[in-house]
């Protein structure tokens, strides 16, 4: 019975090792490889009454012995995981010596007419193991600090004591009944399990902290984005923001809205996740402060470029800033490596690109940006977007693309601003479904502005 349960534990541990691929620990493998064969050897030993001379060893007995002998090797490797290699690799040497002894004993057994009279190589361990520990200690070797080491070592020593006791008993009585060893093993399993469980609990606590921090970061991130867009007479504005992970590098804002002018910025920090989100926060602060001083689009981007270049080396961003004047029905814009905003001309039913000539932000110190002008009329629609929109990939690896976006703007021109934004986000999300699941490779952000007067 004991053998069967130990065997099962070993099987479970080995399986667990191979299933827990990324975070797997060697300890689990060694434990599994030790417990499995060891349990098997116990089963065989209890199935065949080991009385010297009563019958010749059957194949089963030899098999059991073989497996049992080799099981000690992973047990030693398990010990080494915690203990380290010892003084002058002494624990390594011990394992090598034992392996040689096993092979030697097996060789002798094959040719000996009374194989049971050959001492078990386990005796070697019983003698050498404490010796190695004592020599290491005297030579000043200290095992590396590890969590829950005392529990694990306690288990290992209990097992070793029971193992030694049984080996001495076998040696004296000549039989091979396992007396205290299975009990020792049980203690080891419990200690090992408790050690692993505590480690898992600690990892889980760490993971929960991380998850909480990410949730907090996500909240902050959403706070830097406008929750409601200001309603401006003569304009209807809708925005959509769909981050790829908990936090994102895309950022948009409406700034300095007064009776005559407002500014619209959309920025995309290269990369994703926490680093990009941190830079996005930096972008927000820089842009808000320059917009407060009523700087023009080029000045805003130049300041942003300086901030990124100085404060966030090797972090780059694309951005477009559009300043819209509703007294003169005209806009000024500057682009820094950003996909050109699209302007749908309602009366002519034509799509124009607001091309800019600006370099990616954060690359070159003191980079200057040019400003371009455009006029708008009632019925025009402006779409400002991040490249996550047009580069959304389908299952077959095709990009959503400029052409598809253009076609939607044309065919769906009758939709209200909000409905158009909802439709567009749905289309992109459907486009990048893979195996029936949404699969987004980049943050998707866009702002739609309808000119109504």
């Amino acid at each position: 019975m004991t053998g069967a349960s130990i065997f099962t534990i070993g099987l479970l541990a080995t399986t667990a090792y191979f299933v827990a691929a990324p975070s797997r620990k060697k300890e689990l493998l060694w434990f599994g490889l030790f417990a499995g064969p060891y349990g098997l050897a116990l089963i065989v030993r209890s199935a065949v009454p080991p009385i010297e001379g009563s019958q010749p060893d059957t194949l089963l007995v030899i098999f059991g012995k073989l497996v049992g002998l080799f099981a000690a090797i992973p047990a030693l490797l398990l010990f080494q995981e915690w203990y380290g290699y010892g003084w002058r690799l002494s624990s390594r040497l011990l394992i090598a010596l034992y392996a040689v002894a096993v092979i030697l004993v097996l060789g002798l057994m094959a040719f000996h007419d009374r194989p049971r009279s050959i001492p078990s190589p386990g005796i070697l361990l019983v003698i050498l193991f404490p010796l190695v520990l004592i020599v290491d200690r005297m030579a000043g070797y200290r095992p590396p600090p590890a969590p829950h080491r005392s529990i694990i070592f306690g288990g290992l020593f209990t097992f070793f004591a029971s193992f030694s006791y049984d080996h001495f008993a076998h040696w004296r009585s000549g039989n091979e009944v396992a007396v205290t060893e299975p009990v020792g093993f049980l203690v080891l399993t419990m200690c090992f399990g408790s050690g692993v469980a505590r480690q898992i609990a600690a990892k889980e606590a760490e993971r929960i902290t991380m998850a909480n921090e990410m949730a907090a970061a996500r909240k902050i991130q959403f706070r830097i984005l406008p929750t409601t867009l200001p309603s401006l007479p003569g304009f209807s504005i809708a925005a959509r923001y769909s981050p790829m992970s908990a936090v994102a590098g895309d950022f948009y804002a409406l700034l300095g809205a007064d009776s005559q002018k407002f500014g619209l910025i959309l920025a995309d920090v290269m990369g994703h996740g926490v680093p990009a989100a941190l830079v996005a926060s930096m972008v927000k602060v820089s842009v808000s402060s320059s917009a407060e001083r009523h700087s023009g689009p080029a000045a805003v981007l130049e300041e942003l470029n300086t901030t990124l270049y100085k404060e966030a080396p090797a972090q780059y961003a694309t951005a477009v800033y559009i300043s819209i004047d509703h007294e003169t029905n005209s806009g000024n814009y500057s682009s820094a490596g950003h996909p050109p905003p699209l302007l749908w001309r309602g009366d002519a039913r034509l799509l124009e690109k607001l091309d800019g000539e600006g370099l990616l932000l954060g690359v070159r110190k003191g980079q200057e940006y040019v400003e371009n002008k455009f006029a708008f009329h009632r019925g025009d629609r402006l779409i400002v977007y991040s490249d996550g929109l047009t580069e959304a990939e389908s299952e077959g690896g095709t990009n959503f693309g400029d052409a598809r976006l253009g076609a939607l703007i044309r065919t769906e021109e009758g939709l209200s601003t909000e409905d158009f934004a909802t439709m567009l986000l749905n289309e992109v999300h459907t486009w990048c479904h893979k195996n029936g699941d949404p699969s987004q490779a980049d943050d998707i952000t866009f702002v739609v502005v309808d000119f109504q007067s």
Binding site: D268, G271, P313, A314, T318, L359, L360, E391, A441, D442
Partner: protein, 115 residues
């Protein structure tokens, strides 16, 4: 397909033949490591050959830019060779072609170092 980088050296110029996808994560990390390795080895003439690059995303482009600026800060010139249409388009949108030295054939790229 993941990304691979092969190294060659011609007339004292180190050429990194990049193939596959340079995207967020593995691809861009490999590129960064390889360029850094060459810089640490004291190589000061580096060409990144992008002929085999099927796809690059903005993170990949950021990585390329960062490699360029790191090299420049150490007084090393990093030039680009054989942009595929995709890389070329991205260079156009981001105007990075004004930053990088870009070549269409290997001979003139190598020669450009001796001028």
């Amino acid at each position: 397909m993941s990304m691979t980088v092969q190294l060659r050296e011609i007339n004292g110029v180190t050429i990194l033949d990049v193939a596959g996808r340079i995207t967020l994560g593995e691809g861009s990390v490999i590129l960064r490591e390889k360029v850094r390795e060459q810089l640490n080895l004291g190589k000061h003439r580096i060409i990144v050959n992008l002929a085999g690059v099927s796809y690059i995303d903005s993170s990949g482009l950021g990585e390329l830019t960062s490699a360029f600026t790191t090299a420049k800060n150490r007084g090393v010139t990093l030039k680009l060779l054989n942009l595929t249409k995709r890389v070329h388009d991205l260079m156009q949108i981001t105007k990075l072609y004004t930053v990088f030295d870009v070549y269409d054939d290997e001979g003139s790229a190598i020669e450009s170092f001796s001028q």
